[in-house]
């Protein structure tokens, strides 16, 4: 009896280890996600100062009849300075300079955009929200401790005073940063957006899917259904297994060595990125497809063969459709991994500073993860938040994809 008591105790101990392990793993997920979420959620918002802005016709050297083109060519530098001078008329020139630093460096561009959108602002004074500089942004979001000594921070005490004044006047606003989703990269955290990298990722994945999916399916069909055991088949087998094992960075080297240097394909493009990623994804899809094909019981094949179906008919009428759900699940997972892959893209130059949103796969592009990498390497405090926000976007996408694939697997899970 004591024996049994001891055994029962061991049982409980063992079970506890299990719960502990699962709990810890779940905790990791939670910590990771929460951490990034809290670090990044601010990135979707920006801080703005609301100030009256006068669009002086003369200073801008345009009139009501000027075309958009002319507005675009106009210099807003002067009018901005004038405005600052009027608003902060009781500050010295030097102080105004410092105040100006509270704003985003390209305040004149923002003013220009306002006018482009609303030509009737011309010659009027309008209360306009201008993006605050990243330093103020961080302070306003509470990410930055203003108690540290003045010489260790970019914002000096005078600037803080002005900021506090704005706050007390209710002229500081936290707004949703739609531009974040619409613009490309920028040297300034204030205006950096994910649009170009998202498009880059979309193109990359599209290319990757179009290349890897059909090829993987056909290769799987060949190996599972047609290949006669022999040296070639073994060779193919070994190669596919090896491909699955090759570290992603090696694929990058392949892209660099063969696609760029040998075939002379354009650097930094989604086309090359997609191709490299498709090499990586190929074995994943092949493995998924093959195991789905294998899971189709031979009895189905025999049943069709016995009815006089040819081998091709058996495969395309019965086996492949039955293997499709599993294959798709594998494909989704493979593509999701490809979306998050960075290292190979580093090798083929898809970590570049790209401001323009690419419109074709042949345009220079970065992917989301590469963008994250770039921003994270950036010393600017504001970029940390941008990085985290981009990560949130990427994670949301991946989690959604993950659950879709889980749902898929559940729905089509077949018991024969």
């Amino acid at each position: 009896m004591t024996n049994l008591t001891k055994r029962k105790k061991a049982e409980r101990r063992f079970q506890f280890y299990g719960i502990f392990a699962v709990g810890l793993s779940l905790l990791f997920v939670l910590v990771l996600i929460l951490n990034i979420f809290f670090a990044g959620i601010g990135g979707f918002f920006k801080t703005s100062f609301i100030i009256p802005f006068h669009f002086d016709q003369n200073l801008l050297k345009i009139d009501e009849n000027s075309s958009q083109e002319q507005i675009r060519k106009a210099s807003f530098r002067k009018v901005t300075s004038e405005n600052f001078k009027t608003i902060f008329s009781n500050y010295s020139k030097d102080e105004i300079k410092q105040i100006k630093k509270l704003f985003y460096r390209k305040i004149d561009k923002e003013a220009q955009k306002q006018l482009l959108d609303n030509p009737n602002y011309l010659n009027r004074t309008i209360e306009i929200a201008f993006t605050a500089s990243t330093g103020i942004d961080q302070i306003h979001k509470g990410n930055f401790n203003r108690d540290i000594p003045e010489n260790q921070r970019k914002i000096n005490n005078f600037q803080l005073e002005i900021y506090d004044q704005f706050v007390s006047e209710g002229k500081v606003k936290k707004v949703f940063n739609t531009d974040y989703f619409l613009t490309g990269d920028s040297r300034d955290p204030e205006s950096a957006g994910v649009a170009s990298s998202v498009m880059g990722s979309v193109f990359t994945i599209l290319i990757c899917f179009l290349l890897s999916f059909p090829i993987a399916i056909f290769a799987s069909i060949y190996l599972e259904e047609f290949a006669k055991p022999g040296r070639t088949t073994d060779l193919i087998e070994i190669n596919i297994n090896n491909l699955a094992a090759v570290p992603s960075i090696i694929f990058g080297l392949l892209g660099l060595g063969i696609l760029l240097n040998f075939f002379g394909l354009p650097r930094s493009t989604a086309l090359v990125g997609g191709m490299v990623l498709s090499f990586m994804t190929l074995p994943t899809i092949i493995v998924a497809c093959r195991s789905s094909l294998r899971a189709v019981p031979p009895s189905i094949r025999e049943g069709a063969l016995a009815l006089g179906a040819t081998k091709n008919q058996v495969v395309f009428h019965h086996v492949l459709p039955l293997a499709m759900p599993g294959t798709l699940t594998g494909t989704i997972i493979g593509l999701a991994r490809a979306v998050g892959e960075t290292a190979p893209l580093l090798m083929i130059g898809m970590v570049a500073f790209i401001m323009n949103v690419p419109s074709t796969p042949l345009d220079p592009a970065v992917g989301m993860p590469a963008q994250i990498y770039l921003w994270s390497e950036s010393a600017e405090r504001g970029f940390i938040e941008k990085t985290s926000s981009a990560i949130i976007l990427l994670l949301i996408f991946l989690i959604v994809v993950n659950f879709v694939s889980v749902y898929f697997r559940k729905k089509y899970e077949k018991k024969w």
Partner: protein
């Protein structure tokens, strides 16, 4: 009585392993012939030679002559798909396609291009289901999945599927071994019904089943054909001592 399938000196090897040793055995038209014998004696192998299902197995080598209606089925003129249109097969485990009941039955006629006409196809499906004794049970749910049927119904669906391409011969490899006694007895009765229009060759582990359903029985042992003849004779007064010993449960 006409022989519909004749085999002469058939040898089958799996790689180096001989599975069938010089068997000559003929099958009478509109008869049920049962192949019995201990496990691994080559019943399935022999059966699968008859519609060339063994072609799929790489290492399987077949020698000898197998003729259907006096035409060598392994000759070059015969397309294997064409042959299997003439010789249907039903397997041990019911294996309906995971499609609708209708599509299961219609699949054969479709791939063989029996008809383009929806009504004609309906007709074929209905008669086939009817012949397989399944029509009344499923007529209201032809769109349900074939796999949603019970085991016995699935097996009858497989029979209907085989019938739909109007074969002359139906091969059955232990068609009841996955079924319970009730489903088994329904299938057995169906078999005796079907033999009016088809020639049936059935492999079975159960001597009782062979006794119940077949007209002729062939007893295999270690790849050899030990004895064949009228079922009633084989089970009451076999000529060969080995047959007798097997049938009466003297194995060791």
């Amino acid at each position: 009585m006409v022989n519909i399938i004749t085999t002469k000196n058939v040898n089958v090897h799996y790689g180096d392993k001989k599975a069938i040793d010089n068997i000559s055995l003929n099958f009478l038209k509109n008869n049920v012939t049962a192949l019995i014998g201990p496990s691994g004696c080559g019943k399935s192998t022999f059966l699968r030679c008859l519609n060339r299902m063994n072609d799929v197995i790489e290492i399987c080598k077949i020698e000898g002559q197998i003729c259907m209606n006096n035409i060598d089925i392994y000759s070059n003129e015969i397309e294997v798909e064409q042959l299997r249109e003439k010789i249907g097969m039903v397997f041990q485990k019911p294996n309906p396609f995971p499609k609708s009941i209708y599509d299961n039955v219609a699949y054969g006629p479709r791939i063989h291009g029996f008809t383009d006409n929806k009504e004609e196809l309906d007709e074929i499906v209905n008669t086939s289901l009817n012949k397989a004794g399944l029509f009344n049970e499923v007529k209201d749910r032809l769109d349900d999945l074939g796999t949603s049927l019970s085991g016995g119904q699935q097996q009858r669906l497989c029979i209907a599927r085989a019938i739909a391409i109007k074969p002359e011969v139906i091969l059955m490899d232990e068609p009841c071994s996955a079924l319970d006694p009730i489903a088994t007895s329904i299938i057995e009765e169906l078999i005796t019904e079907l033999k009016k229009s088809y020639t049936i060759i059935i492999v079975t582990h159960s001597m009782q089943q062979a006794a119940r359903v077949s007209d002729k029985t062939a007893f295999f042992h270690l790849g050899n054909l030990i004895e064949e003849g009228d079922t009633s004779k084989i089970f009451t007064k076999p000529d060969n001592q080995k047959t007798n010993d097997y049938i009466t449960g003297r194995f060791g």
